[in-house]
Every structure is written in C-alpha cells, then in structure tokens.
C-alpha cells in the first residue's frame, strides 16, 4: 500500500515537474515554427545580411546581432572589474556592520525594473552622454570608435546602462563563490607572509571557474535585456564600431516592430531574430551553469544557503 502510494507520488509530481521541460521545448518549437518562412527564404544569409527593409521584404539580422554582441561585450568590459571589486569587498574586506546593508543595496540595484533604468537613461544619462560627445576633441573624432554625430542616444549610452544593470548579478554570484573558498587557502597564504591582496588573489584564482561563470551569467543578462536598451540605443540598424552611433539590438527590434509587422514574412523574420537570441542566451547561460555547477559539486556542497529567496531574486 505504502509502496503504491509512493509510486503514485513520484509519478504525479514528476508529471508536473516535466511541464518545466515542456515549456522550454515549447518555446524552442514555437520559435522555429513561427520563423520558418524566413528560415526558408533567407537561410544562413539571414545572419550575414545588413539590409533590413520591411517595405522591400529584405531582412538581414547582422546589424541586430552586431548591436547585441557589441553592447553586451562593452557592458561586460565596464562591469567585470567593478563587479569583482564589489564581490571582493563584500566577501573579504567589508566591516561586519556594513556587510548586510551593502549586500542589500547592491541587490536592490538588480531589483529595479528595466523600464525605470530606461526612463532614467532617456532623461538623464542620454543628455550627459551627448554633452560628453559634444566635448570630444576634434582629433579624437578621426578614430572610428569616436566618430559619428553627437546624438546622445547610441552605443555608449546603451553600454553604460547595461553595465549598471548586470553588475549586481555578477557581483552576487562572485561573492558567493569567494565565500565558499576554504579559509585554509587564505590562512596558508598569510602564513607564507602574503599581503591581504595576495591572499585575495589566491582565493580568486582558487574560485576562477566560478568567477568566470558569474561573469558569463552577467553576459546572459545583457544579451537579453530589452527595455532599457531600446530606450537609449537609438534604434538604427547599422554595423558600426562607433560608440556614438545609434544602433539596434535583437531584443529592441522585436520590442519595437513586433506589433507593426504587417505581413507574414516580416513577422517570421522578427521571430527568427528571437530564435537567434534564444539560442545565444541558452549557450551562454548553459556554459555559465556548467561552470558554476562544477564549482558547486566541488566546494559548495556544505555551504549554507539560508538566503535562498533573496538569492533567487538576484
């Protein structure tokens, strides 16, 4: 009787749990089904074509893929040192009284809705960026990185907003990784006469797999970020190295044009961009998870995770 009950329990909860799998499979299926017109018509050329002309029925995703990758990498470049600095400070250096409040504040940064970042970006950051661009000396303008009209909206504003938005994610995970590094590692370093930083560097090296995982988690966030970027990047499909140039991202073009897509091919092209974005974020997130799980198996097994709800929020 008890055995029967046990089997039924496993089966019923298992079926419900499998729905999570089903949803992920469903997302993949609907994306493929919803983009097949475009998949068939453009094939791999879709990834390499620069033209995005809905009126002529010409769709190429290169400017959007470029915009997403470029803005995310710039944001990563800006946020990684800061995020690691925060992680180190909160895990190793912070006075005990300050630690919890500071953790709360940095996590609050992750909780602010994307639309609020966008609003602030539009009305505060963009004008600041514009005046910076206007103040750029003429000799610098020749460099491709700083060419283009000083509009304010553009790659630089997008990268800055993204950097602020992803920093708390990377910082929170990196902090957990650092805290899980055994104290004996640091004690050994101190015993050999290491300075504080040398001991911390050792801890960072010890947790390097997880640290890379933390940074990649931030990258995954940046790739998929929609509203804040849409509101500050300028929404102009072009492939340009310039930080000042208005550009476009995959998420932004879907957000802007999805309800306007009048014909089927247009809609399918937009869904295909969603498919590309989906695949890209899955790869990045899966890699990050694999790295973090490897660390978890190795050292986090006995670590306390009492702050589960808060960690889930971040």
């Amino acid at each position: 009787m008890a055995k029967h009950d046990d089997k039924l329990f496993r089966l019923s909860t298992g079926i419900v749990a499998a729905s999570v799998l089903l949803i992920v499979a469903g997302i993949a299926a609907t994306l493929i089904q919803g983009s097949w017109l475009s998949l068939r018509q453009f094939g791999f050329g879709f990834w390499r074509t620069r033209t995005w002309d809905p009126v002529a029925g010409q769709f190429g995703a290169l400017p959007f893929i470029w915009g997403t990758l470029y803005s995310s990498l710039l944001a990563l470049l800006l946020s990684t040192p800061i995020a690691l600095g925060i992680a180190v400070f909160l895990a190793e250096l912070s006075p005990r009284v300050l630690r919890q409040p500071l953790i709360f504040l940095t996590e609050l940064l992750a909780a602010i809705p994307s639309i609020v970042y966008g609003l602030w970006g539009m009305f505060v950051l963009v004008p600041v960026v514009r005046s910076l661009e206007v103040a750029t000396p003429q000799w610098l303008r020749g460099v491709p990185l700083f060419s283009g009209p000083p509009l304010g909206v553009g790659m630089l504003a997008a990268a800055l907003v993204l950097a602020v938005m992803i920093t708390p994610f990377s910082a929170a995970v990196a902090r957990e990784i650092l805290r899980a590094v055994p104290t004996s590692q640091r004690e050994a370093a101190y015993a050999l006469g290491a300075t504080r930083w040398e001991a911390i560097r050792l801890a960072l090296y010890y947790g390097r797999t997880g640290i890379i995982g933390a940074v990649m988690l931030g990258l995954g966030r940046a790739l998929g970020e929609t509203m804040a970027v849409t509101m500050v990047i300028g929404n102009n499909p072009q492939v340009s190295l310039s930080l000042f140039a208005p550009q476009y991202t995959m998420a932004a073009v879907i957000a802007n044009e999805f309800t306007e897509a009048a014909d089927d091919l247009y809609l399918h092209a937009l869904v295909e961009i969603g498919l590309v974005l989906f695949i890209l974020t899955i790869i990045v997130n899966a890699l990050s998870r694999l790295l973090l799980w490897r660390v978890a198996d190795k050292q986090l097994a006995g670590a306390p995770s009492a702050a589960a709800p808060v960690a889930a929020a971040a």
Partner: protein
C-alpha cells in the same frame, strides 16, 4: 623593510581601495536613479493618480488607476499559473534529487530563468494571441507566469532542503507515507520561506514590460476582462515616456515611482522574513 615589501604593501592597499571604490561606484547610480525618478514623480503622485483614468493629451492630471488594476490582474493570473506548478515541481526536485528527470528539470528551470523576457513574450504571443487573433490579459498573465515559474521551482527546492531530516523521519516513524510526510510535515515547515519566494518572484515580474508589449498590449479604458487587452503600469510608463508631451512624462515618472516603491517594499519584506526564518532555523536545528 625592503623596497620590494613596501611595493607589495602599497599594491595591496591600492587594490583594497579599488574594491571599496567599486562598491561606491555601483551605489552612485542607484542613488541617482532613485533620487531623480522619485523627485520627478512625486509631484504628480497625488490620490488622483491612484483613482483616476488617464487623461487625453493637453488635459493635465489624471491617473493610472486602470493600469494599476491591470498589473494586479496580470500578477494574479501569473501566480495562479506558476505557483501550484512551481511548488509541486520543487517538491519533486527535492524529493528525487538524483533522478535523471530531476537533473533535466533543474537544468530546464535554469535555462528558462535565463531566457530573455522578450522571447517569452514571443512564446506567449504564439500560444495565446495568434490562435485567437486577439491580445488578451490571459496572454500577458501566461508570459509573466512562465517568467515566475523557474524562480518558484528553485526557491521551493532549496527551502525544502533546509527542513531538517528529522522532520521526515518523525513522520515516517508515525506510519506516514512519503506523500503524507511531504504535504503535511515537510512542506508546511518550509511554507513561510516559499511564500516569501513567491512574493519576490511577483515583485520581479511586476516590473516586466517586454513580455507584455504584444500579449496584453495596453488599454486606455477601464477593463478587467481577461479576454481583452489590459493596461499595465510598466507598458503605460513606456508609452508615456516615448510620447512628446511634458504632462505624460510627468505621469511616466509617477508610474516609475510607484514601481520603485513596490520593489523596495517587497525586497525589504522578503529580507525581513528571510532573516526571521534564518533565526528560526538556527533555533530548531
């Protein structure tokens, strides 16, 4: 002390200062954003904002009553879809940790957590808008529910694992079956934490805009119907922000202030409950 040692010490000091500075650097935008948005938003944030409908262009005042009700309805729909499925899945994950299905579901939940919200919007559009040829509140609720699901699954799993093994042993010793032990003893013990997790997940999706843009769309009128487009605070803020009108910008900032206040309240509440839970666990274990 040699010069080499001095240099090592200086390096260490410099990098410690850098770490402290990066915390400050991250908190500066937080302060700037909160200060600016709230300062712009507060003047427009009277009782009218919560009780009145949006006014047409040119007429000052008005509010976002319909959008706030819309957001609450969307959150209700999302929770109805995600909470039961999420909790039961979490139970499965914690009960059958090592099973192959368990690992697959855990991985799927993490993948789902990383799927961009705009892509989840496309999914909800394909499943719930396209077949019926109509933007609906239900579609928006579905999109938000899918976003909540992985958060609830993982929180439930982690919190169930914190319940001491002795609880289960006690229940089993009294002759309870496994399902009885879970539903009557283990799950109730973890419930306060799980509910906190649900609140946090709700707060997260309450701020989402992208998945609503082409599922629940927006609605200028008062509507609580689930089979019609519905207004939401976030989409309304977005619409107003993109408009060229001063009045509407002020409204957008007022809406953003409400969002920030909600997020702050939820975060503080979650933190408070988590603290108490930690203390409770330390007491019992």
């Amino acid at each position: 002390m040699t010069g080499y040692d001095l240099r090592r010490r200086a390096t260490s000091r410099a990098l410690e200062v850098f770490c402290a500075a990066s915390v400050v650097l991250a908190l500066v935008p937080l302060g700037l954003i909160l200060f600016y948005v709230v300062r712009q938003g507060l003047p427009a944030l009277g009782p009218a904002f919560f009780t009145q409908m949006p006014k047409p262009v040119g007429e000052p005042g008005g509010g976002m009553a319909n959008a706030m009700v819309g957001t609450l309805i969307l959150l209700g729909l999302a929770a109805t879809l995600a909470v039961p499925v999420g909790i039961v899945s979490g139970v499965f994950l914690s009960e059958y940790k090592g099973s192959r299905l368990g690992s697959a579901v855990r991985f799927a939940a993490d993948v789902l957590n990383g799927v961009p919200s705009i892509v989840i919007g496309i999914f909800a559009y394909s499943v719930a808008v396209l077949p019926f040829k109509r933007f609906t509140a239900l579609a928006g609720g579905l999109a938000l529910g899918v976003m909540m699901l992985p958060l609830i699954v993982r929180t439930t799993e982690e919190l169930l694992r914190l319940v001491p093994e002795s609880f289960r042993e006690g229940a089993l010793a009294l002759g309870a079956t496994r399902s009885r032990a879970v539903w009557s003893v283990i799950l109730p013990a973890a419930l306060p934490g799980i509910l906190t997790g649900v609140l946090v997940a709700l707060a997260r999706v309450a701020g989402e805009t992208a998945p609503l843009l082409f599922t629940s769309l927006n609605n200028r009128f008062w509507s609580t119907r689930l089979d019609q487009p519905i207004a939401s605070l976030t989409v309304q803020v977005y619409t107003y922000a993109n408009s060229p009108y001063e009045d509407w910008h002020r409204q957008a900032f007022a809406g953003a202030t409400v969002l920030i206040a909600a997020v702050l309240t939820f975060s503080l509440l979650a933190r408070f409950v988590t603290r108490r839970l930690e203390r409770m666990h330390r007491g019992t274990v």
